[in-house]
Each structure stands twice: as C-alpha cells, then as structure tokens.
C-alpha cells in the first residue's frame, strides 16, 4: 500500500504516510485516507519520509486536504520531506499554507 493512515497517540491527529511517488495515481487513495476517517480528527500530519517524488498534482491534493480540514483554519503539518520534495514545496511557497517540518 503506497498510502497508510494511523491515529496519533493523542487520538486527535491523523497521520497520513505516502510511500514512493506522490502524484496523480495516488489521488483516490489520498482522498480516501482522510475523507473516510473518524470524527474527532483535529490535526493532520502528512508524513513524506518514504516519499521519493512529488509533482504539481500532489500539490493540488494537499490543497484539497487543506480545504477539507477547514481551509485557513486547517492544522496540517508536512513532515520528513527529502530534499527534492522539500524543494518543490518551497518553489511553490507552500510553507505559507502548511507547517513544513
């Protein structure tokens, strides 16, 4: 499975991990990861430690998640990016929309 989800220890955080390429082929799986989750989720962590590549459609999917999680009030952090992934996020200035760690 390229996308896995789990609850954080506080039970209010949903951690979505993406393995391999984060691109249009993961579209449905990524949406499923948060849309069918339990109620009571207040924080989201997108864990990219196993992500090798990310393209502009993945950026679009992150925006979809942000809308789903409340838009400007969404609390989403993107974590453990490798250098290439980090660079694409920063070219697009996504640090203005997400906490990138």
């Amino acid at each position: 499975m390229p996308i896995q989800t789990r609850r954080g220890e506080d039970s209010q955080t949903l951690i979505i991990s993406i393995e391999g390429r984060f691109d249009f082929s993961t579209h449905q799986a990524f949406r499923d990861a948060y849309e069918h989750g339990d109620q009571g989720i207040r924080y989201y962590i997108v864990d990219l430690s196993e992500t090798t590549y990310l393209d502009s459609s993945a950026l679009g999917m992150l925006l979809l998640l942000r809308d789903y999680a409340g838009g400007d009030s969404a609390r989403i952090s993107i974590e453990n990016c490798n250098n290439d992934v980090r660079r694409i996020l920063s070219i697009s200035n996504f640090e203005q929309l997400f906490a990138i760690r």
Binding site: L59, I91, N93, L97
Partner: protein, 588 residues
C-alpha cells in the same frame, strides 16, 4: 449495450471432407443441432464456398484431393482477415507432427474421427463463445477508435479557437527567444507577451497543473485578461490580481497555475518580476554575472483576493542583460536512465556557455543532449527576454482588437478622482479606454497613454504631493523622492485631480482636447525653461522632467492656465494616417 450477435443464434457452418459418408454424417448431425450447413468435397471448393457464404465456423478435413486442408486453412484465414472464424481440423491423423502442422496452417483445434456428437457440440459452443468475445472486443475497439477520432477532431477545432484567444502576442519581437513544446493537442504551459501602451513589454509565463483540455480551459481566461488589460495600460500587479481572482473562482481546488509576470521597462532600464511556483529565473548581466530570481509567491488561483500579494520585485537591468525563465518541465526532463535534468543541469549549462553563445541556446542544447531520444515528460517552456534600447524596439506588432461597433466621435467627459483614491488607484486605464472608443485614436494608443500618464503624474507628484523634481537628479535624491512620494500619498485629504476630455471631428480627422487640473498650488510656468524656450533638450532638460518635453512634442499645443495647476493639451489626428496604417495592416 445491445449484443449484435446473440449467443444462441444458429450458426453458419462450412464443412469440407472428401469422404461422402463422413460428410453426410457430420452434416446431418450439425443440422440436427439447428445450424445451417454448407458442405464442400475438397479444399478448392471449401475456399470458394467460404467466399460466397461467409460462415461463422469452418470444419476442415486435413487430407483432401485438389487442395488439402492445410492450404485451404491458410487461404480461408487470409480471406477472413480481421474477422475471427474458428477453424477446426477433422482428422484421423494422430502423430504429433501432423497435428502441429494443422495448427501452424491456421487451425484452432482438432476433432478426431469418428465423430462424437457430444464433443462436436461442446467444441462448436466453446469456439462460438470465443468468436463472440472476439467480435465484442473488435466492436468495442472500433467504437473507441471512432470516438477517439471524433475527440481529436473536436480538439483540433477547439485548438483553433484556443490559439486565437491565447495567441503568442509579440513573442516574435527581436529581443525575445522562446521554446514551447506541446505535450498534447493543448499545452498546460502558456506564454504571452504584449507591448505596453506606455512603452516596454509585459510577459507572462505559466504552467497549469495537468495538461490537455482542463489546462487549456484555465489558460483561456488568463490570455483574455492578460491581453485585454495589458493593451489598456494596466500594470503587471493589477493583471496578476485579476488573473488570481478569476482562477480562484473558476478552478476547482487542487488546480492552479504556477506563473511569472515580467514587466520590462526599457526607458528606466528596469525589470519588475513576480514569480509564484516557477523554478528559479536568472538575470544574466552583460559581464556574465548571474542573479537568481526565486519564486516568492504561491501559484495563481490558490489564495483568495484579500490574501493575494501581487507585489513585484524591481531589478535594475541594462541593455544587453538577459532574463531567463522556465517551467518545471525543463527541470523534469528525463533521460533514458530515469535521471532528471534538474536545476544542476541548468546551472551547468549556464556555466559552460561558449563565448558568443546565447544562454538560451546553451540551456536548450543541454536539455536535448541530456534527454536524447526520450520524449518530453511534461510541457517544456523556456523564455529569454533581452533588455534593449527603446529605439531598437519599435517593430512590435499591434494586436489591439478594434471593436465591431462604430465609436463615438463627438463627446465630452469629466473624471475627477479625490481624497484617498488618489493614493491607491490609477485612472489611466479607464481614461485610455474611453479614448480608445474612438476608432481613429486606437492606433495612437501609445501616444495617448503617454500624454495622459505625463499629465497625471505631473498633477499628482508635483501638483498634489508637491515633490520637487530636482531631487531626482541624484541617486540619493531618487530614493528620497520615492520614499517621500509613498509617505505623502497617505495624506491626500482635500485634494483632487480632474481630467476633462473633449473629442470632436474635423474635416480631415479629429481633435482630442485634454485638460488636467489639480488642487495643488501650481508652479511658475511663465519662467519654466522648457516652456519658455523652443530649443531641444540640452540645457533645458536638466532642469525639469522629460515629461513636459514629451507633452510638447506629442501634441499640437500645451497651455498652462491659472497658477500652473491647470494644463490643456490639444491632440490632432487625421484620416490619411489611419487609412495608410490600416492599408499596411491588410497587406501584412
């Protein structure tokens, strides 16, 4: 979907056997099962009968006189072409070699003699299922092919519409070089350029998420906004705000446009750049020195209007300096080994430019060398814009679209902006727009814009804000001037600037009379060197701005009234000029 051939339909079966008794037995058996049977006594007859009756299934004896089963099978399969006709050999042969030869000749299976009714029925049913499946697949393939063809034709037509809207503008100007490779019928990348009425150029390079139709649909309004607003004199920041707002409204979340707006001013030798989500751009000085221009903004279509920052960075750029911008397709170009060209590839290409080689060629060559025969994985767009002397930049094609309506010829209007509006709104696009309603003035948009802009800037900066133009003679003073301008724009209570435009027809053309009044204290125009002397720049230009000189040169007359805060200019145009220019356009 309706099945064209029902599974239980009676089959047309061709049998060929030289033994009369065997043939009769088989024929009777098959007829009893309800099938329609045609029979032949040798291969030659079988081939002829196949041609005449087009059966669904063929049962063929392997050994026959005149033409054996192998040869008949080959001819029947050739004749059947794309149609699948199961071909079963009837044989008493049992050695492997002979059976293998039957299959090589095009046979699908064997039935061994003597005949067994149950086995024959089962095999015929099995092959009929296979035949139907093949038929369904072929039908679907044909349907998909036809649909695809229709889609391509529709896209071709749509592309013609798209190309008319999203035309390349003045990208063929001598100071621009670009490469744009479409990945599909429509490209996800856009590249537009337009001359500005006030001089200089605006360029937009963009990359929509995805490509094909969705990207093209997003690109159309961007093109309309860009060309429409640029020709009316709006600046890059205004156009960006409009594009962002439009895209935010029409694009679904998750779709957006990475892009950069470049405003080149060849008079002031400066570039203004806004970049959201594109790879680093480069400004290459004449001495080879390179300045990195990173993206500082989010792509267009993501932020709501109140959060969008259209602030452009200003960079000094002298004639000969070159700006290089690209979409991420350049960086993502891949080679056979699956590696990407990347930023390192761009930097390496720029580092190894040969003397006399254009940086644009160096990068394109390097990408092509790198990818070899690999197809582009994404849309690849590369742009180079060179700063030029204003004088060398005159061959810009004018694509301003005349309206289908005949314009007003006799009119007068007064437009006054007041108070805070003076600080945060430019009336120039609106005023230019009003003047451009007169067909005869459209070809003069550059001159009209310059006249309006000089009048407005004089009224605002020297009249209302009382900024002394002498400050602009030193570079420290220049900074101080603009700092002070920004500060004073916050305090415009009680002030106004009033434009009165009056257009009337004359026998040979028309006359535009523009007066500009401001609430400032005025100035001593009676002793102003530019206004007193008729001499060319020289000594006079040192004192006052070039603005007054421009006004004098472009118009029939410039008159100051009252204490200098009321200026009137008269601008004449005539039919002969318009006619010859339009004639030239028709020829080109």
């Amino acid at each position: 979907m309706e099945e064209p051939v029902a599974e239980n339909r009676l089959l047309r079966i061709l049998i060929a056997d030289d033994s009369d008794s065997d043939r009769l037995i088989l024929k009777t058996m098959l007829k009893r099962l309800g099938h329609e049977v045609f029979d032949a006594a040798n291969g030659l007859e079988a081939v002829a009968l196949f041609r005449d009756t087009a059966p669904d299934i063929v049962l063929l004896d392997a050994l026959m006189p005149r033409m054996d089963g192998m040869e008949a099978a080959r001819q029947i399969k050739t004749r059947a072409g794309q149609r699948m006709v199961p071909l079963i050999f009837l044989t008493s042969l049992s050695e492997a070699d002979a059976l293998a030869r039957c299959l090589e000749a095009g046979g699908d299976d064997f039935l061994s003699k003597p005949y067994n009714r149950v086995i024959i029925e089962a095999k015929i049913n099995a092959f009929n299922r296979m035949r139907l499946m093949h038929q369904a697949l072929s039908d679907q393939r044909d349907m998909i092919g036809a649909r695809n063809q229709q889609l391509l034709e529709e896209q071709e037509v749509a592309k013609r519409v798209f190309d008319n809207v999203a035309h390349p503008g003045c990208l063929d100007a001598a100071n621009i070089r670009y490469h744009a490779s479409p990945l599909s019928v429509f490209n996800g990348d856009v590249l537009f350029a337009s001359p500005r009425p006030a001089g200089g150029m605006l360029v937009f390079i963009g990359d929509f998420t995805g490509h094909g139709l969705p990207a093209a649909i997003g690109a159309m309004p961007v093109a309309e906004i860009f060309y429409g607003m640029a020709s009316k004199g709006f600046d890059g920041a205004d156009i960006l705000r409009e594009i962002n707002q439009k895209l935010k409204r029409i694009l679904p979340t998750g779709m957006f446009c990475c892009g950069a707006m470049i405003e080149a001013d060849f008079k002031l030798n400066q570039l203004q750049i806004w970049s959201g989500g594109l790879p680093d751009g480069w400004l290459i000085r004449s001495n080879g020195e390179r300045l990195v221009l990173p993206s500082r903004h989010l792509p267009l279509g993501i932020l709501p209007p109140d959060q969008f920052d259209a602030g452009m960075d200003t960079i000094g750029a002298m004639p000969g300096n070159r700006l290089l911008m690209m979409t991420d397709g350049v960086l993502e170009s891949g080679n056979a080994a699956g590696e990407v060209f990347g930023e390192a590839g761009v930097i390496h290409a720029l580092d190894s430019v040969h003397p006399g080689q254009h940086q644009f060629d160096a990068v394109i060559d390097a990408v092509h060398r790198f990818t070899g025969s690999q197809k582009d994985g994404d849309d690849v767009t590369l742009l180079s814009l060179e700063m030029v002397d204003e004088a060398g930049f005159s061959a810009v094609p004018d694509r301003a679209m005349p309206s289908a309506l005949a314009g007003p010829t006799e009119w007068r209007c007064v437009y006054e902006i007041r108070e805070q509006t003076l600080g945060d709104f430019s009336p120039l696009p609106l005023l230019l727009h009003i003047c451009m309603e007169v067909p005869g003035l459209r070809r003069k948009s550059g001159e009209i814009y310059t006249l309006l802009a000089e009048l407005y800037n004089n009224a605002l900066e020297h009249g209302v804000l009382e900024l002394p133009s002498e400050w602009k003679h030193t570079s420290d003073g220049f900074d101080r001037y603009y700092e002070e301008r920004r500060r004073r724009l916050g305090r415009t209570e009680g002030h106004f600037i009033r434009f009165s435009l009056h257009h009337s027809m004359k026998p040979s053309g028309g006359r535009l009379r523009v007066t500009c009044e401001d609430s400032g204290p005025g100035f001593d125009f009676r002793n102003h060197p530019v206004l007193v002397s008729d001499k060319e720049p020289g000594a006079a230009a040192r004192y006052a701005g070039r603005g007054l000189l421009l006004l004098k040169r472009l118009s029939e007359s410039v008159t100051f009234h009252r204490q200098g805060n009321h200026v009137e200019i008269i601008y004449d145009w005539d039919f002969s000029g318009i006619a010859s220019e339009q004639g030239a356009t028709v020829q080109s």
